[in-house]
Symmetry: C2
Subunit: 219 residues, 2 copies
């Protein structure tokens, strides 16, 4: 295996184990074992668990930078549904990070700073998308630009924590992503223009088409 392949395998093992048990209950030894490599080989690539988590976070940032841009060029309700699906799908794949975000950030100042920078950038991008929704007559301007920022940040906080909320509720839900999208639509509804409201129904088809990637609260 190349160095890159080995690192990829280690990160994939770590993600699987972290999602299943939480980072606190997974040792680097276990990650090596699960990756079918020696401890020495793992330490050659990553000094400790923290470095593995940092590398996983860097992959998230890379994925976002590769695909999460130019949103403001598609200012439609349907694209908003796609953005929500994209975010929830990522949160589900890296759910350990969203479950333990504060603890991980508190325990590692390097990770914390990377998270902070990435989140700030992403939130600004979503705000820009929403400003374009206003420009494109999809959304009526709330009381002020500040109000719009607040609404966007609220949807952000909601999206980040929706899967956690569902997990704590402990019921088995079939369509967690669609249900989460219901909340976003509900919050924005007063501001959606008539033509945008016409589009709501068809925007759900984005989520339905992706039912197979919907998280089930069993992982």
């Amino acid at each position: 295996m190349s160095s890159k392949e080995t690192q990829h395998r280690i990160k994939q093992s770590a993600i699987t184990l972290f999602n299943k048990r939480g980072t606190g209950r997974v040792s680097t030894n276990l990650i090596a074992e699960y990756s079918d490599i020696s401890k020495g080989n793992l330490y050659y690539h990553f000094k400790n668990k923290q470095e593995i988590i940092q590398a996983i976070h860097a992959d998230i940032v890379t994925e976002m930078n590769a695909g999460w841009y130019k949103d403001e060029q598609q200012p439609t309700v349907t694209h908003m549904a796609e953005m929500f699906l994209r975010q929830l799908d990522l949160i589900w794949r890296y759910r350990f990070l969203y479950r333990e975000m504060i603890t991980l950030a508190r325990n590692d100042s390097v990770l914390r700073e990377h998270m902070r920078q990435n989140r700030e950038k992403r939130i600004e991008a979503v705000i820009e998308f929403f400003e374009k929704l206003v420009d494109s007559n999809v959304l009526n301007m709330p009381r002020s630009k500040q109000s719009l920022r607040y609404l966007v940040i609220m949807t952000w906080i909601f999206s980040d924590n929706w899967l956690n909320f569902i997990e704590l509720r402990g019921r088995d839900e079939d369509n967690v992503i669609q249900m989460g999208y219901d909340f976003i639509i509900e919050m924005l509804y007063p501001y959606l223009t008539d033509s945008a409201r016409q589009e709501i129904h068809s925007s759900y088809s984005v989520l339905q088409a992706n039912e197979n990637v919907s998280p089930r609260m069993t992982g």
Copy 2:
């Protein structure tokens, strides 16, 4: 010291240490030391860290049951501000629990079930309060009763995670509770009746009067 006093002291030490370092980095030995009692004495009261966390959670439930009821008898914007302040103040005092909620719930099925029951009860109480806001002409009914539920749950998820969000953002903020309340008002604004909108300004005085208990993101 009576048994109750000793337990109280242990729980207070644990809360202080958990808030500061996170539960994963605090041992029962450290809690005993910080409480100025012997390890044996601690183990006499609590078998392990899990039991201490369960006891702390039970205190939270007791506090809520003692003071967080009859809200529906005061269906005003000002009382809503009081409820928000009350919730944020509690979250700040027990911030370790809100930072690590998912991990703690995943690692302890007893705690998870207690959390679940309490949260379900509280959310229903807040929904009842909001239904009374509608009955009392403070809030216009959204599209449906279901919509109202969704808006309330959204404010709940926001409130639970607001301090975490601010902490991750890493800026020093002076008036975190007031700023959080701005978001709640922003989300509800389209539904507030004219008379309720008149009350917004004075409802902030509740939060200003409690500036001294406002969390600073330094703990």
